[in-house]
């Protein structure tokens, strides 16, 4: 399926990693593939230019997309399995959530919450959840598909953007030109559209270099699969909440305020609890 003459990264990588072609129409691809010695559920949102919900035709996170993601994640959680919990890999290339009247009226916020809840629940009960960013990871769509993962990996390649808001939308809303926006972003790390500056925030577990994101060869696909195997291992050893993102070397450098808030809040909370105890 071509988008602006280019095949969708979500499709390219979903097919590359699972070894299966996505034949059926529809926007959410879910396949159990093998990775290392185990079965892993791969999930992605794929553009469907003929979709009956017009606002999702470029691969946006719409109503059916978010609910289906929730469905396929709950399937993994509810499956009766013995041994290790089945990992989930979210392959992320998603331009935004769907912007539409129909979407709002039918509760896109609830649908996205369903996807968030599914991924977060899977993580909490012990399924390693890994997000692999192969293209765009933007705004509310990233919250619903990627940000609840234990660990987030990204290809270090052109065309990878992780941001709270698309560049053009941000320029319009702040009434700035793209060049003004980029100038501000160069000075203020959390505004940056540059992947390496984003990585400074310490949210990413790993950047995977030396990969052609649009046309990966067999060795590159194998490299990424190996990185996913390692990440699944790391996720199993790590915490089941998102605290690792605040402990990373990047976070130590750039997220002093996040850390200070949590530390001082904990101190004051503890003191208050002790005061209550001594009173009662």
């Amino acid at each position: 399926m071509k988008q602006n003459g280019k095949a969708s990264r979500a499709r390219i990588w979903f097919e590359a990693l699972t070894g299966r072609l996505i034949a059926t129409p529809g926007t959410v691809a879910a396949v159990d593939g093998s990775l290392g010695n185990e079965t892993v559920r791969f999930l992605s949102v794929i553009p469907d230019p003929g979709n009956r919900y017009p606002r999702v035709r470029n691969g946006e996170m719409g109503l059916e997309e978010a609910w289906r993601i929730a469905k396929y994640v709950y399937e993994v959680i509810n499956a009766e399995e013995h041994g290790l919990k089945r990992p989930i890999v979210a392959v992320v290339d998603i331009p935004s959530q769907a912007y539409g009247l129909r979407e709002e009226a039918l509760g896109l916020h609830l649908a996205c919450a369903a996807a968030v809840n599914a991924y977060a629940t899977a993580r909490i009960v012990g399924h390693p959840v890994i997000a692999l960013v192969v293209g765009r990871a933007l705004a509310g769509a990233l919250l619903a598909h990627g940000y609840q993962a234990n660990l987030i990996l990204a290809l270090d390649a052109p065309g990878i953007t992780i941001h709270a808001m698309g560049r053009h939308a941000a320029a319009k809303i702040t009434r700035s030109s793209i060049s003004e926006l980029d100038k501000r972003a160069a000075e203020i790390i959390p505004l940056s559209y540059d992947l390496h500056q984003y990585a400074e925030l310490g949210i990413l577990h790993k950047l995977i270099g030396h990969v052609d994101a649009d046309a990966p060869n067999r060795a590159q696909i194998e490299l990424v699969r190996q990185e996913l195997v390692e990440a699944i291992k790391d996720a199993r050893l790590g915490p089941r909440d998102l605290s690792n993102r605040l402990m990373s070397p990047g976070a130590l450098r750039t997220r002093g305020s996040s850390r200070e808030v949590r530390q001082r809040l904990t101190e004051q909370w503890t003191v208050h609890s002790q005061t209550l105890k001594s009173v009662s």
């Binding site: 912007y99 940000y147 808030v261 809040l265």
Partner: protein, 387 residues
């Protein structure tokens, strides 16, 4: 943005701390506490308006002509008039009961027929907690402000627009987290978001240890603060993770009272709550009408069509279509009682966000070749709860 410092001779020692006002258009916040230097009053002003140094001096000269307290005063100003500045200063020096950490200041005011919407975030939090139990954490005097706003020339607020208050609800341990919608539209930045996620995580840890701490989220927010974009989105994901984790142990009750409403990533937070309460004056949605018009054009949505907007986002519609659990009047006592009622229900047996098949079936039945008829939508969902 401009920072000014002033010093005045003082005579009277002062003992109280006071915090008044909000950093919103035409207003300011004043933090007053005993000065570190005897016989001196020290004033620091952080203002959004440049070039008014002389006027600030004249206003403060006039104030300190009569006031002789050895106070340390810190002001975050968002374009207030001299009259407003003097009013807030008077409030700060004469109103020791506004000290946010002073429990005795708990008003025993008659709450009946008091608008909840007209209360600021701190007052709202106080209203929901049992009398005499309000205790604010990371309050204004801790002065953990946004490190990113000042670097972009924007005046910060001393609590970054989020109030975290511990106390009791119906005698049970509780934390109320209230977003101040009039500071930067209630937007979520690094500090404000970390306060929310951090407080929820602490409630969860207590709950895991057998000390259940129920949580209330008062949401007035447009979502991510654009000036802190990527950290803002990240901390919202931390809030989501914290709500999902806490909700296993105790109910998390969300309230959207208005007038800002609740949008973007925080609309997801609202839907993750065990129970959600709205007023008719509040709105809830993923993308606000202006954003949709900008991204998809006015053919998709005309953001000036007020009737349409309220028929999609408004509290009444959200209640009728089953997206919220209670629709309440804008009344402090009613809202407080409704929140208590939600906690009495305990953990919900079933939650909207896990009813995947129900919603997929509903979406399947929508004819997307025709414009959506919002009125018919209500009929379709009238029998909510039953398939």
């Amino acid at each position: 943005m401009n920072t000014l410092n002033f010093q005045y001779a003082a005579r009277d020692p002062i003992r109280h701390r006071a915090h008044v006002g909000v950093v919103s258009s035409g207003d300011l916040e004043v933090l007053l506490e005993p000065s570190s230097r005897a016989h001196h009053a020290l004033v620091t002003v952080c203002t959004s308006v440049d070039g008014y140094n002389e006027i600030w001096k004249a206003v403060l000269d006039r104030f300190f002509f009569r006031y002789k307290g050895a106070a340390s005063i810190y002001i975050n100003d968002f374009g207030a008039t001299p009259g407003m500045v003097l009013f807030r200063l008077e409030q700060a020096v004469t109103a020791p009961h506004t000290n946010p950490e002073d429990k005795k200041s708990d008003s025993t005011d008659d709450l009946s027929l008091n608008s909840f919407i007209e209360l600021n975030a701190r007052e709202r939090a106080r209203t929901l907690l049992d009398p005499m139990t309000f205790h604010e954490l990371l309050g204004p005097f801790d002065r953990i402000q946004s490190p990113w706003l000042t670097r972009q020339g924007i005046v910060p607020q001393s609590d970054d627009g989020v109030i975290v208050a511990r106390g009791k609800i119906d005698g049970e341990s509780a934390v109320v987290i209230a977003i101040e919608g009039s500071f930067q539209g209630g937007s979520i930045g690094e500090v404000s978001g970390s306060k929310i996620a951090g407080a929820l995580d602490l409630a969860r840890k207590d709950s895991e240890r057998g000390l259940p701490t129920r949580a209330v989220l008062l949401m007035e927010t447009g979502g991510v603060r654009l000036q802190e974009a990527n950290i803002g989105l990240e901390v919202i994901s931390e809030v989501h993770a914290a709500v999902v984790a806490l909700r296993q142990y105790v109910p998390v009750v969300g309230v959207i009272a208005g007038m800002v409403g609740c949008f973007g990533g925080m609309a997801i937070t609202a839907s993750l709550c065990s129970y959600l309460v709205m007023t008719r004056q509040a709105r809830l949605g993923m993308n606000g009408p202006e954003v949709i018009e900008q991204e998809a054009g006015s053919d998709e949505l005309d953001s000036s069509d007020r009737h349409l907007i309220w028929s999609v986002y408004g509290g009444h519609q959200r209640y009728e279509t089953g997206f919220v659990d209670a629709l309440v009047e804008d009344d402090a006592e009613i809202i407080s009682n409704t929140v208590r009622e939600m906690f009495r229900r305990g953990l919900p047996a079933e939650n909207r966000i896990t009813q995947v098949e129900r919603y997929l079936t509903l979406l399947d039945s929508i004819d997307t070749s025709k414009p959506l008829d919002v009125g018919r939508l209500l009929e379709r969902w009238a029998n909510r709860g039953s398939e």
